[in-house]
Amino acid sequence: MTNFLVDGKPCSGKPDENLLQACLAAGLDLPYFCWHPSLGSVGACRQCAVKQYANEDDKTGHMVMACMTPVTEGARYSLEDPQAAAFRASVIEWLMINHPHDCPVCEEGGECHLQDMTMMTGHAYRSYRFTKRTHRNQNLGPFIKHEMNRCIACYRCTRFYRDYAGGRDLDVFAAHDHVYFGRHEDGTLESEFSGNLVEICPTGVFTDKTFSARYARKWDMRGAPSVCTGCGLGCNTTVNERAGEVRRIVNRYNGSVNGYFLCDRGRFGYGFVNAPERIRMPLVRGADGKQTAVSHEDAISHFAAMLGAGGRIIGIGSPRASLESNFALRTLVGAENFYLGFSAHEGRMLSLIANILSSRALHIPSLRDVEHADTVLVLGSDLPNAAPRAALAVRQAVRGAAFELATKANIPHWQDGGVRTVAGEALSPLFVATPATTRLDDIAHTALRAAPADIARLGFAVAACIDPAAPAVAGLSADLAAQARMIADALLAAERPLIISGVEAGEISMIQAAANIALALRARQKSVALMLNVPECNSLGLALMTNGQTNFEAALATPAALVIVLENELSRRTGNMAIDAALSAARLVVLDHSESPTTQRAELVLPAASFAESGGTLVSSEGRAQRFYQPIFTENDIGAAWRWLSDACRAAENNECEGWSTEDDIVAALADALPCFSALPDTAPSEDFRVAGCKIPSEPHRFSGRTAMHAGRNVREPKPPVSADSPFSTTMEGYYGGEVPPALLPFFWAPSWNSVQSVNKFQTEIGGALAGGDPGVRLLEARTEAALAYYTGVPESFAPRPDMWLAVMLPRVFGDEEQSARAAPIRERMTPPLLALNDKDAAMIDATAGQLLECEMDGELQSLVLEIQPKLPRGVAGVAGLAAKAHAMPAWIRITKAEPGTP
């Protein structure tokens, strides 16, 4: 620790910190703009000026920029020095010269860093009397609103977008006080991380367009700590609610998981919660064949009657439902009748992943660990599309080489300009082996294009190169053998190698190969990490729930009298014909939140809660169990699926879920029943947690309109709802402050810090873990004594077939995930389904780009637009934008050109 004096008071900071960080960590309020913990310092805005004194006798001192000053032992600084304070006030005054008179009509207002800093420096009146420069705005697509007049030219946006996230289509144009931050022309921002501009930009230049459409101020929205349901990574989010609607999703800092950033699927994919196709009432199919709404009681008694009617009852769980709901269904139907709602192929991959990870032989990295890996091998995963936040973490990992060079040159890592100057283009090795190009290729040392089987063989070969005990690959081509050698050498040279694969690779042997490489490195005493992505927010949790027996298609093959489907759209999991055959004779109960073909064929539909109307626990691909909380309290019948199921259980006089009245009860039961979940109750404080006898308020202390928002219906104010499952009060009453455990932070807010930058006040060190520890419990921590044997199933090398193509799924960040694909802004970003072919293959069937092709998949004819991808291996056809048919891939297909004139 380095000790120094600020205004005569002793402070201490870490030697690798700059003075600004150290001051903020010490709880001092020092204004800043251009610095960001993830982006480092460039000293551009001059807002963080402080005085530094040479020694005790130096009374004059000299001005330094805190963000560009390393803390030195025994140094003396002053924030309060009148000259420094006046300097900071005049910096703000200059920045505000051209600032429009916009706060009332600015989406940033009330949580604006510029407002906060202006207040902090005390610049209250404009003395500038001349005209202001103005800019025209751009249309940046469905996510981001642009209002360039408000820019203070801090450069945070381009530094994030270009330097941090690797985007190319946002830049700075023009010169001096004309600088303009935008695209070269109007158009949608391409990066899947564009939403972070909303939080990165300290002003209202970039704001959330989806939020603006149903705008409310930060102080007017209830906040709930939540977990993104967009993919398996489990990024932490805050869901903001007002008047029964989800208004927006913002990042919730978790030092080990998502840090400061989310992807656009997670941020903008919430629209389905508010959509009209939500199921809000229980529906029963009457004698006339139509589904009609019934009361809660009638629905339960109908359900109980169905349960009591006898015959085989099966339950199909869901990877997008909470552990609690899946467990409730499992309890209701009995473990032997509970089937995981994966497609057969996905189920096999997930049970493999569950086996590898629960062997505990290998370290599963958190996203923070990923950022610190020094050599990365991606086997088959298109990360930017399948697990976007992980791709962003990998982008930071490859900067390791740059930081190493900086260390050698004695440049602190926060010195962004310096690091970039000494490091040039230096990147740590990243190897990407996928069938199609990915958006990580630009930073890859080697980007390999091969068919899935060949990638798996490469992986097996790498493992064999590292550890001769690993199964060897027979008949490997010289080319692949050389690549394998090179990758193996790089991994062996690394200190923290990382192997990434996942379900999106679509190939079981690829996951086995990834595991083998990690095991081989472990055998060579490397501290290796293995990241295996899963597609949905609770895929891993569900896979851990039953060891192995997963195949619900097999379950459907034997006739059942009653099928209970939990939050699952079966046609995304298996062919429609199989479903028709299985369900024609069975009675069907579906619990889900939105209308789907599966709910439409049900006899009884129960309105299950989405992530916004109930709490629950999800297990991310890291094996991290995380709790999400309820922001919306509705008066309708929507309720957590586990509540519906346990009500039915009781009504059917099954006493297994007798004691479940709150979420804590069911979590305790789950932890008892399944040993792999025994740590679950530690995920978050229990529902009777209090700070000094107070609940945690879910509404900010200046939540407005309490006595008017419901008065349109009835002037008598309703009693506030009660959150039975959590320590939150549903109002502004309670304790909010430093003692709130991090898993329960409903928003980040601190005195004088109204913007999201207030997260500084909740961290142990700036950019580090949250005070009290990052939320979530890692269920599958590696153990040194644990062992896992090598996988031996090396596949045959890929052999193209005449007139046939191996259809593989190419993931898409927008549209693949079922729920977010219902949100209008996400739909705008979806592209029509396409089929990608190598140019030579396309020439073989004499087709040109843009042409409509047809192929039979899963017994149905699919029309797809041809895209030529010259890098794609021959004999492989990439199918994108057809996630609903993902269960039917990989498969050999025939491709024909659509008859002209057919749609």
């Binding site: 429009p100 008179h101 916009d102 706060c103 009332p104 009509v105 207002g109 009330g110 001349f130 005209t131 202001k132 420069r133 103005t134 800019h135 025209r136 705005n137 209002e147 007049n149 408000r150 144009f173 023009a174 010169a175 001096h176 004309h178 303009y180 603006s212 459409a213 149903r214 705008y215 409310a216 101020r217 102080w219 007017d220 008047a243 200046r702 939540f703 407005s704 309109g705 309490r706 006595t707 008017a708 928002m709 008065a711 349109g712 009835n714 002037v715 008598r716």
Partner: protein, 170 residues
Amino acid sequence: MLSSVRTLWYTFLHLFQRNVTVPYPEQMPYLAPRTRGRIILSRDPDGEERCVSCYLCAVACPVDCISLQKTEDEGRWYPEFFRINFSRCIFCGFCEEACPTYAIQLTPDFEMSEYIRQNLVYEKEDLLISGTGKYPDYSFYRVAGLAIPGKDKGEAEGERKPIDIRSLMP
């Protein structure tokens, strides 16, 4: 003791003063324009709704009796609904103080008793008047930087024409 006697004495003296009670409602009292009575929403000099739906009145209101929802029409913010629950309002005038556009104003009218409490809930139709109220000249959008129909970028007061970012001139 002494103070009680003094109070009685002053009260006694009031017997000899002029009567201030007026026969209301036959004779209406004079109320200065600043009197804090029934709240209205005014229009700007161009006849457009002044309220820009900034939520500042709502947050300033100590009894939380103002509720509204922002919506937008070609860049112009305005309230989709705007509701005041006058059965809660304490006529403190904080909303008027907070309003950056002079939209919300308290007027000298206080005659708004109702037998049914629900009738004290006023919606935007009930609040919006057709004039500018106490402030005849101010128009927020003429000052603000947002472009709205009829006022492009650079056309607000004190603004220069928008920058041509492709120009190389200093």
